[in-house]
Amino acid sequence: MDKPFAITLDVGSSLANKTGSWRTLRPVYLDRLPPCNHACPAGENIQSWLYHAESGDYAAAWRTLTLDNPLPAVMGRVCYHPCETACNRGQLDEAVGINSVERFLGDQALKRGWKFAPPPAESGKRVLVVGAGPSGLSAAYHLRRLGHRVKIIEAGPLAGGMMRFGIPKYRLPREVLDAEIKRILDLGVELELKRKVTDILATMREGSFDAAFLAVGAHIAKRAYIPAGSAARMLDAVSVLRSMEGDEKPLLGRRVVVYGGGNTALDVARTAKRLGASESIIVYRRTRERMPAHDFEVEEALQEGVLIKWLSTIKNMADEGTLTVEKMQLDEKGFPQPTGEFETLEADSLVLALGQDVDLSLLDKVPGLIIEDGVVKVGPNMMTGYPGLFAGGDMVPSERTVTVGIGHGKKAARHIDAWLSGKTYAPPPKHEVAEYDKLNTWYYADASKTVRPTLSLARRTSTFEEVVKGLDETNALFEARRCLSCGNCFECDNCYGVCPDNAVIKLGPGKRFEFNYDFCKGCGLCVSECPCGAIKMIPETI
């Protein structure tokens, strides 16, 4: 074409005009820490396993999940999911049902028989793990995957610790627990049952272990002095729940009173109901708001007919089972103070659920340890005062939950691994947290949480069937897709689409994007319109 001068131009020639020079701020992509991950005691990378679940790749999701936690099916049932409390979606409609998706993935794995990948190489090191509870199993799993030979020594008759002896069946079916434990052992972890380690250093010498992780559970019930007649029937929660695992079911009678306000108290009260008690009453000295037990459990218990007497303490128990209860009131600091008002309560048995202690006798001969309030001091690397001796779970100062235990196990394993090769493990630096205000939630459709079905009341009070059911595949997928992917690019193409200067380069599926700073004018539209807050503006250095 014979084009007239100047008035007719060849297409696309403006590429010669590098508008990037106008910029005073430049956009940069970043990954922020999703609040769920931030809140998870087990350090799960929740957002990233949900990402796989969203596309229906459950195997990949499960593999990502189990990089941090070997017991998803268990966790999906018993975890108190602080992740959901932290979830940004909670401020939009309702938190993502992370826990239920985790359980779905765990159950899928069991159903389909997914296995862990064996360690790439053997390190030749031997590590002893004391206690087959959540913390011990977690440590053993991680250490094994890192290539070390691991042996667990467990005092009890079965592995699982508190997961088995503290948590009732109706919350955690035993076949689920057994299956997930077996999968860990299948990795080549050695387990010795019914052996109580009395002298840890001796045991290590015998077995010539290079290091040890101590994860003994808190199985000793705390006692409180309550004057009682000789015929009065008084038991402790730990033994009640433990005996539930044996053939000899505990005899609690028609009228059961449980003393205490923790989850264990609720477990016992609900168990009593299932054992046929017509009355199951919890006596607690503070108010519902101050109760350490999780509210959803209180709710379930109330639904099942458990009664709770708030602001009450038990003064004594007479032979014929009459309890004297004193009303309390909270002072300005929130502490319960006696009122001098008394009432009586008829009970066939009183179960004390006032907390538990750990048996630390195995440490008696170990020098250099600091022990306070019945727990062992450990460093940030989970190592006790004695080199090579690590500890976690109920044994160390911390909240006592399955999730925390699993987290300790993982953390300890990483440090043990480093220690064994004479190094120190430095955890990767944490990204800034992706707060709600970093998101542009307009792009997310409204989709409320999927409620997990629950067992009918009748069956709940008469059987030990699991109360809360799982999600099926479709609603698990739906739930996974409610994730906002806070702080992490999910390739929605918004930045690529909204740039008025075509200054965003799309690198293709899974490869995300990059900026073309030759043309980016720094308007910041991409930042405002990024739904998940994975871009930020930084000053241009001139």
């Binding site: 100047a6 008035i7 131009l9 060849d10 297409v11 696309g12 020639s13 403006s14 590429l15 010669a16 005009n17 590098k18 508008t19 106008w22 969203e54 596309s55 307009w442 792009y443 997310y444 459709a445 989709a447 739906f478 897709r481 409610r482 994730c483 906002l484 992917s485 999910f490 390739e491 929605c492 193409d493 918004n494 690529y496 689409g497 909204v498 008025p500 200067d501 075509n502 200054a503 799309k506 293709g508 599926p509 073309n516 030759d518 043309f519 004018k521 720094g522 308007c523 910041g524 539209l525 930042v527 405002s528 319109e529 739904p531």
Partner: protein, 329 residues
């Protein structure tokens, strides 16, 4: 042709792309091989809504026409920032003639294509609100009346921005421009009878009329894609914020456009052969204040004492739109 809402992809129902969707279901803008009809290096301001709207619309038209497209451009920002000698940002056959004749020039191009047996080449005319609703209005109406085979797209930024923000017939009430009262008891544009060009286009009973916004890409692309194959005159009126003229942050361009839609001040609807057929529902209704307060051109409404009277008048306009165009539920 029905708008297919994307179901079940909560994470990205309203985003540009969606890795969980099939290629064919994704927006043109999500495509790695999109035309970039208006390519990089143009001289539009930071966060220019018109540059964005033009690429959205023309890329969609390119896909719909299988790249058999020619465009006519009225004088205005779009023309000035896209083709200053010696560079052009257009990737398509494009011509600029005058401020007021884009519609007529397009009629001519369409006639030539018809007579040369190239009816597969689709013709688009585009201009700003000044070139469309004011100076180009006669040619536009003539094109409609002849039902010439042209898709006319108006990028409405509600004033003459190219010449330094003067009032146009598309300037909304109370908005400040260089040619509206700057001070006094009621600064800004008057609460006139208004001039709703989409409705005037409908009065010509042309096959298709629609309004769209840069804040709703899928809706915009759907309408362009629907309009392209129709023979005869078609009109799409796209709301494109102007950070310069509106006094909004460049980064807020889409946010502002979204609030115009969500408040009801800029209704998104479609009409066929003069009849209203449907509207795009408001997802999260907001009061007009949220929209107005982001823009310096309305700042005087919020200066102490807040001009609640005129804000209420604007709210009334929004509420009227919500009723008239069935924007809720």
């Amino acid at each position: 042709m029905e708008m297919q809402p994307i179901k079940f992809y909560q994470t990205a129902t309203f985003t540009v792309g969606n890795r969980l969707l099939g290629e064919h279901e994704r927006s043109v803008q999500a495509n790695m091989r999109r035309t970039n009809s208006l390519n990089s290096g143009h001289r539009a301001c930071q966060g220019c809504g018109e540059a964005l709207g033009a690429r959205y619309a023309i890329d969609a038209a390119m896909r719909a026409s299988d790249s058999q497209l020619a465009a006519v451009n009225a004088t205005g920002c779009l023309e000035v920032f896209s083709t200053p000698y010696p560079e052009t940002s257009w990737q398509i056959p494009w011509i600029h003639s005058l401020f007021g004749n884009a519609a007529a020039v397009a009629s001519g191009v369409a006639a030539a294509m018809r007579v040369k047996g190239q009816e597969d080449v689709r013709v688009i005319a585009q201009g700003g609100d000044g070139g469309t609703t004011d100076i180009g209005f006669g040619c536009l109406s003539g094109m409609f009346e002849r039902n010439d085979d042209v898709l006319y797209i108006c990028y409405d930024n509600e004033a003459y921005m190219n010449t330094g923000v003067q009032r146009s017939s598309a300037t909304p009430p109370a908005a400040r421009t260089a040619t509206t009262a700057a001070v006094g008891t009621a600064p800004g544009n008057v609460f006139g009878t208004g001039k709703n060009v989409p409705l005037i286009a409908m009065a010509h009973c042309i096959p298709y009329v629609a309004t769209a916004s840069v804040a709703n890409l899928r809706d915009l692309e759907f309408k362009v894609t629907k309009a392209m194959p129709i023979r005869g005159s078609r009109y799409i009126h796209i709301h494109v914020p102007c950070p310069l003229g509106w006094g909004s942050a460049p980064a807020d361009t889409i946010k502002v456009a979204r609030l115009a839609v969500e408040s009801g001040l800029f209704p998104l609807f479609e009409a066929e052969h003069g009849e209203f057929v449907n509207s795009t529902k408001i997802r999260r209704k907001v009061p007009v204040d949220e929209y107005l307060s982001l823009q310096k051109r309305f700042a005087h409404l919020f200066a102490k004492p807040v001009d609640s009277t005129r804000i209420a008048l604007i709210q009334a306009i929004a509420d009227h739109n919500v009723k008239r165009f069935e924007l809720l539920g």
